[in-house]
Every structure is written in structure tokens, then in C-alpha cells.
Symmetry: C2
Subunit: 567 residues, 2 copies
């Protein structure tokens, strides 16, 4: 049992060893809406229903009130509190260290947090075999269910930025090639652009050019990229601090290996879509550093680098709240980063990523069988893994546009690609090893009534039947399974419980970033130019169009499907 | 220039190498009050004056309102906010890492924090020689000025518990035997009983017995003590993780060395008074663990130890706020720990000890020339250093009573014992190296008008004259010097600016302890018995009388002089 000390392995990014999938795309559908109609909504909770109704109706009213600055700001605050206070706020009483509270469990953040105490949910009767439960997740043959709302760009972004702080540490058994969660993590617990800057200083240092506050980079076909990680098949001395998660477990051709980048993060090389985002942010970092250098000719490399980094982290925060979260939420109200965040609130507490937050983010259903290229060719997903050749061939703008035009898969049971089903089993087993409470316990803790029958979880008769066969009783349904058994919420892209838990964690952990705090969110920290950049950035598209060789070009960049219409 | 990597050296605890002081005690005096009367109070600030007047008058009214539970609780909250909001709240924009804000400066707490940005206060004209400025602090010959209010017990407690979190790291130059602040610290930044439990887990592990949740201990004359650190002059293998700050720099007799204890903290062995408090808390820990074991027969050593630790940390918090801070404050209102602390406040932020907080706590004036023993003998302070023989000879209760009956020295200029004057110089130099803003800048930042003449700082003509000679202009007075040049506030035990800054830091850092948080301050964390212990502990005296061999004995234990009367 070798502990992964150097390469922290996140199953979310584990990739196929034998995958010859072919794509059979189904057309966008009203499946979600139809399922919602069949579901018994009697246990959704009256308050929840009222809130949802108010936020998803009266579009013109919402449009008007959001145009009145002070009203919008007040609403933004009120909405944040409304979402976050659905459950108990940090500090958490417990971590994965022990089943009781200790000074270590309260202070040592190398142990992953937990929302609810450990609990034996078996009730004396063994839970169904984890391998069988994992089969609930398997995509039906080649037929992938598509998300009616989200694009592959959304999927790539979600994985890329959460890889920065959802960093579970596993034991890896080389004999049976199985991963087992340890309850530990190597996260900095902040949404701090770790994929770009690396998890620690020695890594950041390795990728800095030490000139003008910039990252090391190279030009290929007139576009800027990180340097290559391998030189003649070897990692050069300057990049010894870097690592690529899972590379040693995966067969990679020499050709593909030669396209991997010297990134600060250990995961953006895992799949082309993540490398695309890292490349975008490297370019923006170097662009901003140049602009700062012009305006501050006396600043040294260090100050230019650090000030650029301050700006870049806030840019990520803006994208996360204003584009990504608003894409997920089915509301008319659009959340904003109203910095500085005053935060006279109970929720403004030190961040601590929890296991529940980590598990609920395993959106394997998003992963399509094939990835569409700018020229229309369809490449099996497996070929885009540990291989940046497509990015180098087509360039950044075209790759992002192609991802914006391809629908992602739908998040939920029966839609995990075959090559990721084993990860579902690892996740289910981890929930059991860490004694997570049941799906119903989490519903209750997050402001929903407990369900009393399977048709209150999902309107899909097949899901109901399979759940009933496995668990017999809704009270026995496990947290991880329940999350993904729920139907995707109408006009959202995740289920109701996932949506609520993502919101609570995302808001309360993103908005407590020190860069957004009252004494810090100012021109001393960012410069006036930096504040302008922050102000002018509301979407991934904004950043892309500042960082392409031909500034007159326009790409269609979107997390939301162009053909999506709210129902 | 060897960096102190293992033994972090805090000048506060540095001790004499050649010290043959004799005691000439002056009687308690009205010096403070008299000085206050002569001082020009026109720059004290109108709001400050009103607040002080209200809090130090109308005694009967305060007495009544504090008897009405809900009113008292409301007042307690209001008073805390009133004190804390006198300045900007955390997170701090800057640390000692850089003169500008960076992600590292915002997150790496091995760098000491700072309230105000770096500033050149010399204004083109060199500041007076640091050695000359340090002479301002020197006690006049053997004549020590006594505190009219505080006892040596107060002095010992202050040093003992702050040594747990004010942990500056210095470079030590072995050639000229000089310390130089590095801007770094090895603090955990919480008021967490580090003197008892040690700064990290490997140390805690070394002093645990692994039986019944207790510390290792030994019985001497029917009283419980920690084991000795040295066995036959050598540190045994089991204690290799422990260290004693400064011991290698100090000549210690074999006899004295044999009395040093195996403590978790690296500083409680430095002076008998600190060893007294550590011994008290070891006994209370072992007592509480025994009681928990009786009530929870199925618990293992680990759970007993950790739960006892939870209780002990809160006991410290109670003493700090309810005995120690109330002793310092001149108010009729008495602060309380109203746990759980809800904290819908801007001040509830992650702790980060600052250099200013560290410097203002250098209360060398408290240190008397001689220490009174229970039998009336007077031992030169130097002989109580790295030497626990007196504690072993007289026992815990008598030692604490003797300290309660001896007045401490007064905090301020002209009262630092000769052997500590070099530490004043180190402190002054550190303020300069770290480019601290001026005394007047700090007045302004903490809600006081800037002073315009020396007689607004102090009513003492000699202080005024010496300050004027050195600085010429009040705007040039350094932070560290100004703090201690101020007269002690009437009926307090520190100056006005120190009092305010101590309050802000103490409240906002003690009350944010996770053990006091809403989801944690409960019987799950402490047990019902633990909550009772917490409830029944309001003073050091309460703890002592649970931990002496003869339970029928009563000792007089007090931080306040028995002959003190408010004026």
C-alpha cells in the first residue's frame, strides 16, 4: 500500500486505459422537464418551493430591480445569505481525523472537513455491494444523455478550477490498482488558481521567468504556450518540482508526451480541455504583467508577478460567480462579486474543504464519448488525455469555440462513461469508509424534508426501480448515490441537492477570499489598472479575446448551449 | 549569523548573565494618578474621554445592569464591538514579507502580521541612536517603581500565556551575541495553551503518558509535577523533541539544571513563575482527564486526552478574559466569555499575530529585582531563572500565594531592570528594521488624535525632557518608545494606547477560538462534566484550589494587589 505522497491522485481526473468509445449524439431533449413532471414533489419543502417559484418566475420584475444599483446590491447580499444559511456555517466541529472534536481536528486542515458527523447507516443490515451500486452510474452503451443547458466548455472549466482546491489524498494499491481515500488532502482550501500557480512556492518559482513578472513561455504558430515539460523525453532540472498526476499510471506515446506543458498545477495536463484553460490564464497573466510593467517602470519582477497574481485570482472569482454559478442556477437573479465584501456575517469563516463538497463535484456524466475539434472531426475522449497536440494544432480560440459548441453530457445516474465507472465505486467506498450519513440526513441538514419514497428523488421509473432493488428503503440510500439519483433541476445543470450544496460552499468559500476584503480590495493591492481589468472581466470570452494573435477575430465562447431555451 | 531554527528565542524571556540586584521596595504610590493630573489631556479625543468617563463612573448603575442577564449579555457584545472596532479589522493587507500585498503575504502566517504599512519615519534626519533610546527604559539604580495595582502573579501569567502565541523568530549573531528580528514567527496564532501542549504534535506526543489521557508526571512531597527534563545531566530519548529557549546561552549550575521540567512549551522553564503556571495546568489537565475517565469508562487514552485539552483551552480563555483582561481594564463593566460566540461581526476573522502586538507586550517594567518566597526570603530574580528549585521546595500553593502578595513593577520608561535593557534595544531596532510607522501614526490608526507636544504623552517632566532631547518633535517618536512613554492609565496597569491595542487583539483573537463557536461549544465537544468545569472556573484561584494536596487549605491568589483601591 504505497501512499501517494508526490502525485496526489484525484479520481475525477483518472482516465481510460482502454477506451474505444464512439459517439452517438442524441439531440437536445426535454427529458429533465419531463422527469420533473413525473416526480412526486410533496417532500420538496414548502419554503423551498416558494423560493424557487419566486426566483424562476416574474422575469421582467427581476430584470428591472437588477438595474437599480443599490437594490441589486442589497438583493445580492440577501440572496447570498439566503443560500448560505440553509445549513450550519463553519467552523465545522469535525474533520476526517476523528469521530469527535479535538484541537487537531479544529486546526489541522490537512484532514478533510465534514459537514455531518460519522454515522453507521447500515442499520445492522449490510449495504449493497459497492461494485453493484457503481453500475447504477454506467452510461447505457454508447448512448450518452446530453445536457440540455451546458457545453463542454462548462465541463472543462468546472474540472479545471475545482482541481485547484478539491485535492483528496489516496492510498494506491499497486497490486489491484485500487485507490482508497485516506481522509487527508493537500489543498490550500482557497480558490486561488492553484492550477496556474501550483500548490506551493517551490512550484511557482520553477515556472517563473524572473523577468517582468511573467511566466516562462514559448511561441508556437504565433501563440503563447507554457514551455514543454519534457525535453528529449526527460524532465529538465528546472522543472523537477513539477508533477503530472497519474502520468506514471497511464500509457502515453512519446509523441503525446512531447506535447505536455510545464504547468504549476499537477492536473491541467490530464486532458486537453484543462490545458486550454491553463494556457488562457498563462497568457492573461503575462499580458497583465506587461501592462503593469509599462505603468510601473520602477517595479521589479517580484512585485510585477505578485500584483499580477492578485489580479488573476480575482478574475477567476469573477468568472466563477458571474458566469459559472449563474450558469448553474436556474434563477432570474444573477449573482455578482460586489467587492469589497464587508461580511458582517456568520458565514465569513476560514475555508475548509469538506468530503461532501468533494464528492458532489464528481460530475462524470458531463464527459462526452468524443470531443469535437474545430474542423468538425470527432476525437475519442481518450485521445485527448495526456495529449495537447490538438490544442497546438488548432490554437486556443478555435479549441474554446469548439468546446462552446459541443453539448456536455447530463449529470446523473446512467451517464458515466464506461472508463470512469470504477471511479464511482471508489467514491461510493470512500463515503462508506468515512462513515458519511445518508442522503436523507444530508437533505435534512441542508433544508429539505426527508423523502419517504423513491419517486420523490427522481421521476424516472428505471432509477426508482434500481434504487428500490438495491436499498429497499429510501432511508438507506447513500449520500453519493442520492445526489446523482435526483433529476437535474429544470433550467439548471445539476440536481436540486447538488445545486444547494455547491452554492453554499462556492459562495462562502469564494467570497471569503482575502483579496476581496475591505482593507485589501483596492488600488494598493491591484493598481488602478488592475481594478479596471477586474471590472472589465465578466466572462471567459472577455479574457480569451484579449489573448489571441488576431485581435479582430471573434469566437463564440459559452458555458451555455447556444440552442438552450429556459422552459 | 546563525538562524535560530530549533530554539526560537524570544527576548522577553532573555535573562541576566550577571545580575546581582538587590531589592529596595518602594511603597505603593499615587504616582500614576499624580502624573495623569499633570498631563495635557487636550489630545485624548472627546469620544474617548466620554467613553472612559462613562465606564469609570456610575459604579452602582453598572453593578445593577450587570445583574440583569440579557442586559449584561447585550452590553458585553456591545462593549466588545466598541473596543475592537477602534481600528481596521483583519485580514491585514500586509505582513513582514513585503511592503506590498501578495498572495503569499495574505496566506503565509509564518510571516508576522502588521497593522500599518511600512514607512520611513526619519524624514531625512537619522533617528537617535538605538542604544541611547534604550537607556530611556533603564530602571533608576535599584529603585524600582511598583505597580499600584498588579501583583507578580499578574506578571507571571502575562508572560506565561503570551509566550504561547507571540513567537518571534530571530537571527542570532554568536560573535556579538546579538539578536535581530527576521519578520518571521513560529506561532500557531491561536491562544491555544502552547506552553502546556507544545507548538506541534511531536512535542505533545513526547509528554503524554498514553494512559487515561494524562500527561507524564511525577509526585514530589505529595504534589504532582512534570518529569524532569534531564536525567543524569542528559536529555533522555523520550524528550528529544522538547527544547528550552535560551538554555544553551545561559550558564546554569548542574543543581538548577536538574530541576528543569519536561514541558511542552519551550519557555515555561525560563523562570519559576512560568513553571508555576505550567505545573498548575498540568495538574488540572490530569485531574480533568481522571474525572472524564470515571464518567466515560469506554473512552480510550486518545479521546480522554483530546477532550481534556478542549476543556483546558477554554479554561485559559476564561482566565484571560474574566480575570486578566478585567484586571487590566479600569472599567466598572466586567467582560465575560459568553460562549457560544455567534460572531455576526466584521472582526470575526482568522487570527494573525502582528509585530505591533508582540512589541507592546514587552512589559519588562513588571519584573521586580527580587522575588519574595513563601517564607519571606527575597531571592534575586536572576536566581529564579532556569531554576525550579524554589517551586519544588515550597510547593505550588505557597509559591502562587507569595506571587499574589508581591507587587509587580510598573510598566513604562525608567523601570526596566538593568539586565533587560539590551532587549529594549533589540526591540527598538526591530521596529526600525521592519519600518514601523510612528507612535502618532498608531495613535491615529487606533482612534486617538495625534499628539502635538510631549506633555500630551506623559505628565512626567523627566520623560518629557528626555523624549524632547532625543526626538525634538513628537511626530518622530517611535511606536515602541511612545507606548511605554505614556503614563499608566489611572486604575489600569498599562498605558492608554497599550490598553486599547491589547483589548483589540486579545478580544478579536481569543473569542474567535473555534472551541467557542456555535456548532462546537457544546457537550459533544466538552461533555456535560466539561461544561460544568468551564462554568465553575472564573479565576486562577479556582483552578489552584482543585489541585493542591490538602483540599482544606486556602491560599490568597490574586492578580490585583490586596491593598489596591481605585482612585
Amino acid at each position: 500500500m504505497a501512499r501517494y505522497l508526490e502525485v496526489y491522485h484525484e479520481p475525477k481526473t483518472i482516465v481510460p486505459e482502454n477506451h474505444a468509445a464512439m459517439s452517438t449524439q442524441t439531440s437536445p431533449s426535454q427529458i429533465t422537464k419531463d422527469l420533473q413532471r413525473q416526480r412526486d414533489t410533496s417532500r420538496d419543502g414548502f419554503k423551498n418551493k416558494v423560493q424557487l417559484f419566486a426566483l424562476t418566475h416574474f422575469g421582467p420584475v427581476w430584470a428591472v430591480v437588477q438595474k437599480i444599483g443599490p437594490v441589486r446590491r442589497w438583493l445580492n447580499n440577501a440572496m447570498l445569505n439566503l443560500e448560505i444559511y440553509k445549513t450550519k456555517t463553519r467552523p465545522y466541529a469535525l474533520s476526517m481525523l476523528q469521530d469527535y472534536t479535538s484541537w487537531e481536528s479544529l486546526t489541522d486542515r490537512t484532514w478533510t472537513g465534514r459537514h455531518l458527523p460519522a454515522k453507521d447507516i447500515s442499520n445492522g443490515k449490510p449495504l449493497p455491494d459497492a461494485a453493484k451500486v457503481a453500475e447504477l452510474f454506467r452510461r447505457h452503451g454508447q448512448e450518452e444523455t446530453l445536457s440540455p443547458k451546458s457545453t463542454l466548455l462548462f465541463s472543462d472549466f468546472a474540472q479545471w478550477f475545482t482541481d485547484g482546491f478539491l485535492r483528496t489524498v489516496y492510498d494506491f494499491n499497486r497490486e489491484n490498482r485500487q485507490l482508497k481515500g485516506t481522509g487527508k488532502n493537500n489543498s490550500n482550501h482557497d480558490i486561488d488558481l492553484t492550477p496556474l500557480y501550483g500548490v506551493k512556492k517551490s512550484i511557482t518559482d520553477a515556472i517563473r521567468s524572473r523577468v517582468g513578472g511573467k511566466f516562462k513561455s514559448q511561441m508556437i504558430n504565433g501563440e503563447e504556450y507554457a514551455p514543454f515539460y519534457f525535453q528529449n523525453g526527460q524532465v529538465p532540472e528546472e522543472f523537477k518540482e513539477l508533477s503530472i498526476a497519474g502520468l506514471d499510471l497511464h500509457p502515453v506515446t512519446d509523441e503525446a508526451k512531447a506535447t505536455l506543458f510545464a504547468f504549476g498545477g499537477d492536473r491541467p495536463n490530464v486532458q486537453t480541455g484543462f490545458a486550454v484553460f491553463n494556457t488562457l490564464f498563462i497568457r492573461e497573466h503575462n499580458r497583465v504583467a506587461s501592462e503593469l510593467a509599462k505603468r510601473n517602470p520602477t517595479w521589479d519582477d517580484e512585485r510585477l508577478f505578485q500584483t499580477t497574481r492578485n489580479i488573476m485570482i480575482v478574475l477567476l472569482m469573477k468568472i466563477v460567480i458571474e458566469e459559472y454559478i449563474n450558469h448553474i442556477a436556474p434563477y432570474h437573479f444573477k449573482f455578482r462579486v460586489d467587492a469589497p465584501i464587508e461580511g458582517s456575517t456568520r458565514w465569513y469563516r476560514q475555508n475548509w474543504m469538506t468530503l461532501e463538497f468533494n464528492l458532489l463535484y464528481r460530475w462524470h456524466g458531463l464527459v462526452p464519448n468524443t470531443v469535437n475539434m474545430p474542423d468538425g472531426t470527432k476525437v475519442p475522449a481518450a485521445e485527448t488525455v495526456f495529449n495537447n497536440s490538438h490544442l497546438l494544432k488548432y490554437g486556443l480560440g478555435p479549441m474554446m469555440e469548439a468546446a462552446s459548441k459541443q453539448p456536455a453530457g447530463d449529470i446523473g445516474l446512467f451517464n458515466t462513461p464506461a472508463f470512469l465507472v470504477w471511479v464511482e465505486q471508489v467514491s461510493i467506498q470512500m463515503g462508506r469508509d468515512m462513515k458519511l450519513a445518508s442522503y436523507n440526513d444530508y437533505r435534512e441538514a441542508f433544508g429539505f424534508p426527508r423523502v419517504t419514497s423513491f419517486n420523490q428523488i427522481t421521476g424516472d421509473p428505471e432509477r426508482q426501480k434500481r434504487l428500490a432493488e438495491l436499498y429497499g428503503n429510501v432511508d438507506r440510500v447513500e449520500f453519493y448515490v442520492g445526489l446523482f439519483a435526483e433529476d437535474v433541476r429544470t433550467n439548471s445543470t445539476v440536481s436540486t441537492l447538488i445545486g444547494r450544496m455547491v452554492g453554499i460552499d462556492a459562495f462562502s468559500q469564494a467570497l471569503t477570499n482575502p483579496l476581496l476584503a475591505p482593507n485589501i480590495f483596492n488600488a494598493d493591492t491591484f493598481t488602478e489598472y488592475g481594478l479596471e481589468v477586474i471590472d472589465n472581466t465578466k466572462s471567459v470570452s472577455d479574457i480569451l479575446h484579449r489573448n489571441i494573435p488576431d485581435k479582430s477575430k471573434h469566437y463564440t465562447i459559452s458555458m451555455t448551449r447556444l440552442d438552450w431555451k429556459p422552459v
